[in-house]
Symmetry: C2
Subunit: 286 residues, 2 copies
């Protein structure tokens, strides 16, 4: 049985999520290494105390690792899972931070037998990206989804649980398909709505210079996630197409029924709907 | 010419907006009075130092006022404008804080000739309401729309400008119809989207107890304004029906074209759209 405190951990991809994880893990394991395509990213990560050492060479970075965490965009994780197997030592546990899990976990099941794997998805983020935005406190108090693959051993699950708890997050074990269905509505739909809002304002009110002066807190918050990293979001949407489509279509139906009540001036039904929605929101975020 | 420093001001409606205005104005004018239907609201406003004195009687509260600020929901403002005229002294300036302006300003034009009037709409708020949420700093740094009525004198506009500057806000003068068109997209559409998001999640993912645990920052921010006061929002939507309908329909079109790109897997077009949206959002909120 392997424990976090005895483990050498390598994080592949030093963006916001990978960099923050490094900072949160340092001192709670044997070492934290970072792999990035760019030497300057590694220098920045070391300067900020987020990793103990780093390399631009994937093979060198993962060779001695007890645990490898893939922290790039989802489809990059897929490609890395297809090539990383032979580079890893016996018993190494591969983990990831990708936002969609069905495809990643399928790739994990195809790893060579001497390697272990488990999928992960931390429920946090920021609209800023990159190593400069990294924050070792990013994961504290947040939920962290774990999706065991068919072949995940109890010992590998145990190591992932230790990691999640070490960074102050709360682990939740969910099947990959169920997680992809849930995050389509809870994460990807908010992104699509934020994008549609900005796109609508850009097309209708932005030509009026006054619009830019009166845009207020409601618009700012509702549109915040539209500033998310595009490559990351593109990978997420492209690996969860059917669920995203269903969530958006369901939302359009709800939007249409609300606007019909506004148009018809059906105050009683509109008040009932808005009151129920407000109560649900307050229950979700007390 | 009347100045703020010489004025007795009466605020009718001591909720979040009215209470905050009182706190921001005290000490910058002769006196701030509050009118509320409930004696306990007046007591709370006085205990918090938001008004100098208060009354549950509208006639008593406004009799000596140099300026009356109507701070209730928009349709309540409409009813009050219809009855308040005879209660006011010669030269009194009636002002309001309602979120839609075309109807309010039309009511203002119907006031008796001894009374002046100008419409106002501060671009701020909170999802909490009531006197307990009042904050004298609420208006600082925010835009504050002024909509002169046909009969608004330069002196009344000047007094309204002094008030806006005294509370730390930036005045913007806009025609009422243009303001209602702009806020439909910039304020009311975000509310409708936030409501549709919560409603969708409630219908599709909420039956899964795991959903409540993984709901994260993106959902929280995108849905925040759905917790707004229902009576206030109902009045806003009901006095801006056509603009709200048009804004929601435009947004549905944008949403559908984004989801079509996701469904079709048209990455090049989707990346271009999301990149443009992200740049617009960053330009709006640098």
């Amino acid at each position: 049985l392997k424990h976090l405190i005895d483990s050498h951990i390598t994080i592949v991809g030093l963006g916001l999520m990978g960099g923050s994880l490094g900072g949160a893990l340092r001192g709670q394991c044997q070492s934290v290494a970072g792999v990035s395509r760019k030497a300057e990213t590694i220098e920045a990560a070391m300067a900020c105390g987020l990793v103990d050492w780093g390399t631009t060479e994937l093979a060198e970075g993962v060779r001695q690792a007890d645990m490898v965490v893939l922290a790039g965009p989802v489809r990059v994780i897929g490609r890395q899972l297809a090539e990383i197997g032979p580079l890893l030592k016996e018993g190494c546990v591969v983990f990831d931070l990708g936002s969609t899990k069905a495809r990643v976990v399928k790739h994990m099941d195809a790893l060579p037998p001497h390697v272990q794997a488990i999928g992960g998805h931390p429920m946090c983020g920021k609209e800023t990206s990159g190593i400069r935005a990294a924050d070792p406190e990013l994961y504290r108090g947040r939920s962290f989804i774990l999706c065991p693959a068919l072949r995940t051993s109890p010992s590998s699950l145990g190591l992932a649980l230790e990691l999640v708890q070490a960074i102050g997050a709360t682990p939740l074990i969910i099947e990959p398909e169920r997680q992809d269905f849930l995050v389509a509505t809870l994460s990807h739909l908010p992104y699509m709505l934020a994008c549609a809002l900005v796109s609508t304002a850009d097309a209708t009110t932005s030509p009026d210079p006054m619009a830019w002066k009166i845009v207020a807190g409601g618009f700012r918050d509702t549109s915040r996630v539209s500033a998310s990293d595009v490559t990351m979001m593109l990978d997420i949407l492209m690996t969860n197409q059917a669920n995203v489509r269903d969530a958006v279509n369901a939302c359009i139906t709800h939007l249409q029924s609300l606007v019909r009540l506004v148009e018809a001036g059906d105050e009683e039904a509109l008040r009932a709907a808005l009151t129920k929605i407000r109560a649900t929101r307050l229950e979700m975020f007390p």
